[in-house]
Amino acid sequence: MDVEITLRVDGTEHTLVVDTRTTLLDALRERLGNTSPKKGCDHGQCGACTVLLDGWRAVSCLALAVAHDGATVITAAGLTTNGELHPLQRSFVIFDAFQCGYCTPGQIVSAVGRLDEVSAGWPSAVTAPGAVDVVLDDDEIRERMSGNLCRCAAYAKIVPAIREVARG
């Protein structure tokens, strides 16, 4: 079954016809040519396909495109402003927070989404019960980023790259 949908991706509106079984990830990569979100496991376990979906981080491999008709999607490619890298993108470069780079767009989008969740006062599993202000120490960063796997195990650089931006 084909359905016409509209997606606003990295600031540009697209109207396209998709089969109902098409994931948001495949719509972005195969139909719109946006290969920034990566297909790692395709089962929601690795986080390489993470995008901001209507403002919140989500794995695009487990979202059916048809169910997100009208959605606003931001990929890692859409985080730049007037050609300027997002502070987290710059930090990943400075800290050399990757090896092969395949998980990196997902890591960076996830880190951006996580900052928004912290700003909203959202706790994590390692936040002290009842704590109102979240202190973004390494335990918090690791817990909040646990949905993004890196098979090169560049975590030792990813954590400080994120910590640097968390501190402003």
């Binding site: 989500a58 487990l62 979202a63 169910a67 706790p123 690791r142 646990s146 949905g147």
Partner: protein
Amino acid sequence: MRPLRYARPDTVTQAVTLVAGEPRGAYLAGGTNLVDLLKLGVANLDLLVDVRRLTSTSIDELPDGGVLIGAAVPNGELAAHPVIRQRYPVLSEAVLAGASGQLRNVATTGGNLLQRTRCAYFQNVTTPCNKREPGTGCSAREGYQREMAIFGASPECVATHPSDLAVALAVLEAQVHTHGPDGGGRRIPLLDLHRLPGHEPQRDTALGHGELITAVELPPLPFAATSRYRKIRDRASYAFALVSVAAALDVAGGVVRDVRIALGGVAHKPWRATRAEQRLRGEPAGEASFRAAADAELAAAEPLPGNAFKVRLARAAITRTLLDLTQAAGGSGR
């Protein structure tokens, strides 16, 4: 994946009629488990009825002191809600112990309760599984047993329920509001929503085909302010429970006035530890009585050779969780 029709109706009644009228029809909310099951070939559906924008996304305090959670409230919002964190911390902690930030932003309250087991044999269409294909046999009974049940299993199925949220709701004695094809609504105690496998492991819940979860109601429970969730798993984060404990404790003068305990990762449904609770009421709040209560519950466990470790793990987890709660309530726990 077989061809799939998709509908996004405007009312709950329309949605229920659509699914009720299609044997291979199902509701789609966040889709974080269902879309995966479609890809794996475990779910063979002809129709998806999208209810993500249909049921409530709000969390409301009720006049009786309880809280009503809309079925479409995302897990992440539920865990962060100030009222939930303050009055039902076990619920917030349980949700935060599950999945990842990306999944919690999309997965819904109703969908979380209806997620299916992550038993590797259930998810692998090349292996026999009575839950996926009744009558084919249980591969786990003779296979990899680490994640399997120690309570309430049947010869047909030893799978465990994966939800952390449901374990907290078992302690809180939540009521699940549903809307059925007969046009009526009903309330199902959370403890009766999920079932043990018995001879029908393909049935996870007591819901009829087409019955839609619309909300989850938390009754008032003042001592739930002293409650917590402890989850033990094979990695520090983002993994399903080997054993988890949800508990709420009411201690006065060093004596257990009331207590509620439920276990996750050990059965086909959230496992309410009523034997442990009965054993504890009126006893001194301390390690010896906590351990005795855990033993009273675990005496009924029937582990497999590959998951016998869960008995010791559950014993330690129950004891430690109750000690933590005693300390939080101002007692020494000794």
